[in-house]
Symmetry: C2
Subunit: 339 residues, 2 copies
DNA sequence: ACCCGCTGTGGGAGCGCTCCCATACAGCGA
DNA sequence: TCGCTGTATGGGAGCGCTCCCACAGCGGGT
């Protein structure tokens, strides 16, 4: 296939007229090497085109310089723009700086999930980045038991489960931003299409909605709250429900852009004009928000920064067994025409 | 940290009362082991919770069971929905079936790119998947020289560069689908906002446009063709240009959804109704297409299948040094309201 | 003159696995 | 009874690296 073997550290040592230990020291940047020797070794490396064998190093150091990014593919939403791409981008950038490789691990079925757990606790990676975790996911527990450092994307579902590293986006604050805008532009009957109650993002955005209402001195009417699952179909149902339970609504805060888009459609069908009769604000700043009719006012999440912070936390703190830390990132309101 | 060492193959052998060789044979599924012994080894593995050490295996076999997916991050477009997510999904699924790990490698700067090349030819992966390659990218050359198997996403830019494995999406056919639809619904002055001339996707979609026009017996008027770079801004400029060079146009085929969206805006500004006065068809079936006003008719690309085929080609053919193969996937027209 | 400590260096041991040769043993025909 | 095959098994060698101990050489203090 590819002819002769690649040069080994031994070969470099011979070529430079030094011992193996010395070459190893040069490669790993130990300062216990004279400048002359270092030069000699460096040029030998160059001449031979030497590249260290990672497997051999891993075998003895027990470090793999590899970090896994775990995503549950069952969580379709995660793969939606711009979340996934942003996270990956942020993670990849920071890991590259730290000389770490990114292993992308996805699990579709429960069996996949099991196997993935085996792999991760099998010592094949130095650390793990977890996004889109379900509340009942066994992975954090297994990783903790095996002593594998990890960082969560999103806040821990069980606060009591012990301190962990995590990076979250301020969902409460983001929702407040949205609803405050609605209240600030004179809306008084502000409804919400909320997310599922069993997801932190769903809970927190609803909490933000409530706080902003209270802050504005508006009544918290249960008829103004409908639950859905972040999807377009769910949003459609929820919006129809709202129109019945609270026909006098003059604004809608949807906890996802998909649901906001659905709301737009349902409202138009019902003969309400947006934003004249009803203002609509979404959440995510997805691609489709800008193209919607009318263009959607929405809450932008710093996904790339989130990925970056997660990688940073893992590389700089979790891997060195520092005390767990939580980082919360701020959102930003993108004002367009819908509300 | 994590207490005692993980059990080794040696430990399993002792526990089962056999030799190392036998355990190794069981793990690697050799048939030269008696059923009784196999059972004994299996239960020893289970009891001890043994997981093979990949590094040690790699050290001797020179296989890593790792495949790199390389994306140039400079290519912003790639990270756009739904391309990237689809590819990743398809690749991940097939690799998991084959017991291969997915290493995601991105390169932002030229220096990154250089380092990435070093890494890939350094024997750290068994094979490479390349997407969004620039015509002048040195990676394929380096990989070929180093004897590392790889598969291209998209057709090779230099057909003369020797046969390579690749998976492409039928851009010519996709464009034909779009333009045929326009001609079929009675449009006679069909313009196009084409992609860049130095990208295969740009060239091929323009070629498809031309063929479909000819097929429909329509005149190929240069005033009906404007070039852009697939972006929204570029599309806006190009559409304005078309409105000047061919004010009588009654349809537009845009080579990307972003450009189609821009065209929609420019046309509305110019007082043309879509689809009544001017029909518009896009390309990509991006998220924003469905939310556009009016919802965009567009060409859907099988991105997940593309990723899957790439992984399959690499795992089943390239890794075993089979003769290079090209696979071309078909597109599908998604008819919505715009054209 | 001596010894002590410090820096730079060489190289043995060993990480956990696979490869492969040697060996043990059962079965069978002569 | 004695080979002779063929199959199941044990274990040495070695993959390429890091770790760490040993040691040479050089000042400088006593």
């Amino acid at each position: 296939m590819d002819g002769e073997r690649r040069p080994t550290l031994e070969a470099v040592a011979r070529h430079a007229g030094v011992g193996r230990g010395t070459v190893s020291r040069v490669i790993n940047g130990s300062e216990r090497v004279s400048e002359r020797t270092r030069q000699a070794v460096q040029s030998a490396i160059e001449e031979l085109g030497y590249v260290p064998n990672r497997a051999a190093r891993t075998l003895v150091t027990r470090r793999t310089d590899m970090v896994a990014l775990v995503v549950s593919e069952s969580e379709e939403r995660l793969f939606a723009q711009p979340f996934f791409a942003g996270i990956v981008r942020g993670v990849a950038g920071v890991l590259a700086e730290r000389g770490l490789q990114l292993l992308l691990a996805t699990a579709r079925t429960a069996a996949d999930h099991e196997r993935l757990g085996d792999y991760l606790v099998g010592g094949h990676v130095d650390g793990v980045l977890l996004v889109s975790l379900h509340a009942d996911d066994p992975l954090p527990g297994r990783l903790t038991a095996a002593g594998i450092p990890f960082v969560l994307g999103g806040r821990p579902a069980h606060p009591g489960a012990g301190a962990v590293h995590y990076v979250d986006i301020d969902n409460v604050g983001g929702a407040e931003l949205a609803v405050r805008r609605l209240a600030g532009t004179g809306r008084r009957r502000i409804a919400t299409v909320a997310g599922p109650a069993d997801m932190p993002a769903g809970q927190d955005r609803l909490e933000g909605y409530r706080r902003a209402l209270e802050e504005a001195g508006l009544e918290a009417d249960p008829a103004l709250v409908a639950r859905a699952d972040f999807s377009r179909e769910g949003g459609e149902r929820a919006m129809r429900g709202l129109l019945e339970s609270a026909p006098d609504l003059d604004a809608v805060f949807a906890a996802s852009d998909d649901m906001a888009l659905a709301a737009l459609r349902v409202l138009r069908e019902a003969g309400r004009r947006v934003p004249e009769d009803v203002a609509v604000v979404g959440y995510d700043d997805a691609d489709l928000a800008a193209g919607a009719d009318p263009p959607l006012t929405t809450v932008h999440q710093p996904t790339e920064r989130m990925g970056g912070e997660m990688a940073r936390l893992l590389a700089d703190r979790a891997l060195s067994r520092a005390a767990p830390e939580g980082v919360v990132l701020e959102t930003r309101l993108v004002v367009r025409a819908s509300g």
